[in-house]
């Protein structure tokens, strides 16, 4: 079941994801490949972990 606050939370999550990825892209352009990859991972987990908790644990 999707409620309004879940929707808001989802929007925030997507926003944070996009923002973090853009920081990763910026880092990539600065020739810090490893750092960029780690930021992408971070962004992914910041999206996936709460979604997992939201959808399956509760």
């Amino acid at each position: 079941m999707i409620t309004v606050d879940m929707l808001v939370a989802f929007i925030i999550l997507v926003w944070v994801f996009v923002y973090t990825v853009s920081y990763g892209v910026w880092t990539w352009k600065k020739k810090n490949r490893l750092g960029a990859v780690m930021i992408f991972l971070l962004a992914l987990s910041a999206l996936a972990l709460p979604l997992y908790t939201m959808l399956f644990r509760y």
Partner: protein, 437 residues
């Protein structure tokens, strides 16, 4: 900047969605229970009596109406009560909430009274253990055992001097500091002693005095006959037995003694005083002593505990031998015989008072070990320091050994002050000096 602002906005949005002041409850949306009484139920496990305050009737603040004060004969409008039968305390609260408009809140409950039969079959201890989990029950709430039903006791309380009924309970149960007839047995203490391996619990004893006229008074109700006293002293009563009539029927006097989960006996007022002296919690009180020179006369002193008592415990043939030393101070309050105890016979009085107290205390100590098998004084906790590890102590089984204990008591009484009188002059009459009869 824009981004931060937008993020904050979003966060605020989630917060408002999430929030809603989940726990906020207005004071005036709740009713505050000040005393809880628990009895054995007829149709269910428990019969619970809740006594709650009705602040509007207290006539406080500038609020008009309510009327306060006035009230009918013997009726106090500032408290209401409700009795119901329920399977457990919390389910009972739920049931009460169906009829009381405001939500019941226990965080200001001052006293919890259990009926004697609940205490005797061990249910009381189970119940107290169960409720300590709840945050609303305060650890310094007083736990008391009622002789007879707790419901009757709570219904008999109609405080009229106190605008705020909770004050009645608070003052009454801290009164042991100047009466010595009960102990302020807080839930925390009770609970800890129940689980302790070196002490057993007591609880204050309360009761309802049913006498309606002075004609109903009788010596037989007191414990004086067992103590071979022609006339009962002030401490020779249990709650509910006092020869007294008046507005306030509820009384608190004496202690209920527990052995493990079960209540095994009662101590009367005098024994409670002795209990307090042995444990060192005795404050000060008026105590009556028989006159050592002239029989049938009494000397009343204001007795104080000057130092904490000391204990010497040793093991004789596996049996504990316990030596208690108690130091007391006294001020003369009244000397009926007119003998000059202040100056000439002070020593005589002191020795006789010491002997009198020693006998009483020894009687109490023997009673606890032989009759109750219950170390309510916590001698075990004193003896604990002889052991190095917990397992050794536990295997020693103190509580089991206590019933074989022998006791020695040494009381030291020192008269310090004599009140306003420093010596008695004889009374003059037509026959010259009148010797006291």
């Amino acid at each position: 900047m824009k981004r931060t602002a937008a993020f904050l906005l979003m966060l605020a949005a989630t917060c408002t969605l999430l929030s809603g002041c989940y726990d906020g409850k207005e004071i005036d949306d709740q009713t505050y229970v000040i005393a809880i009484g628990l009895d054995k139920g007829e149709t269910n496990k428990l019969r619970m009596t809740l006594q709650y305050a009705i602040p509007l009737a207290m006539g406080s603040s500038g609020v008009s109406g309510g009327g306060g004060g006035g009230g009918g004969e013997g009726e106090s409008k500032s408290i209401g009560s409700m009795t119901l039968e329920c399977p457990s305390v919390y389910s009972g609260l739920n049931m009460v909430n169906n009829s009381v408009g405001k939500q019941v809140n226990l965080s200001h409950a001052k006293v919890m009274v259990f009926s004697e039969d609940l205490a005797k079959d061990g249910r009381m201890v189970m119940l107290t253990r169960a409720i300590t989990r709840g945050k609303e029950f305060r650890p310094n709430m007083v736990v008391a055992v009622s002789r007879g039903s707790a419901e009757d006791y709570l219904k008999s309380i109609k405080p009229r001097q106190e605008a705020d009924p909770s004050k009645y309970y608070e003052l009454k149960f801290s009164g042991y500091k100047y009466t010595g007839f009960i102990d302020q047995t807080q839930l925390h203490d009770f609970f800890i002693k129940e689980e302790s391996t070196g002490a057993q619990a007591v609880a204050a004893l309360v009761g309802v005095n049913t006498k309606n006229s002075t004609k109903e008074f009788s010596v037989g109700e007191s414990s004086a006959p067992q103590k071979n006293r022609p006339v009962p002293f002030e401490g020779d009563y249990l709650a509910g037995n006092l020869p007294k009539v008046g507005d306030i029927k509820g009384e608190a006097m004496g202690l209920a003694v527990f052995n493990g989960p079960k209540m095994v006996g009662e101590l009367d007022g005098e024994e409670s005083t002795h209990y307090l002296m042995v444990t060192g919690k005795y404050g000060h009180a008026y105590v009556t002593f028989p006159d050592p020179i002239k029989k049938d006369f009494y000397i009343v002193v204001n007795l104080k505990q000057s130092r904490r008592p000391t204990y010497k415990i040793k093991l004789v043939d596996g049996k504990p031998n316990i030596k208690v030393e108690i130091k007391l101070e006294a001020d003369y309050m009244s000397i009926q015989s007119g003998i000059n105890y202040e100056s000439e016979y002070n020593d005589i009085f002191e020795r006789s008072a010491e002997k009198y107290l020693e006998e009483g205390i020894k009687r109490l100590l023997n009673r606890t070990s032989a009759e109750f098998h219950s170390d309510i004084f916590g001698f075990g906790n004193q003896y604990k320091s002889r052991f190095l590890t917990w397992d050794q102590w536990k295997n020693f089984q103190w509580l089991d050994r206590y019933k074989n204990s022998t006791f020695e008591v040494a009381v030291d009484v020192k008269v310090r002050r004599t009140g306003l009188t420093i010596r008695n002059a004889p009374i003059q009459g037509s026959e010259g000096e009148v010797q006291s009869p």
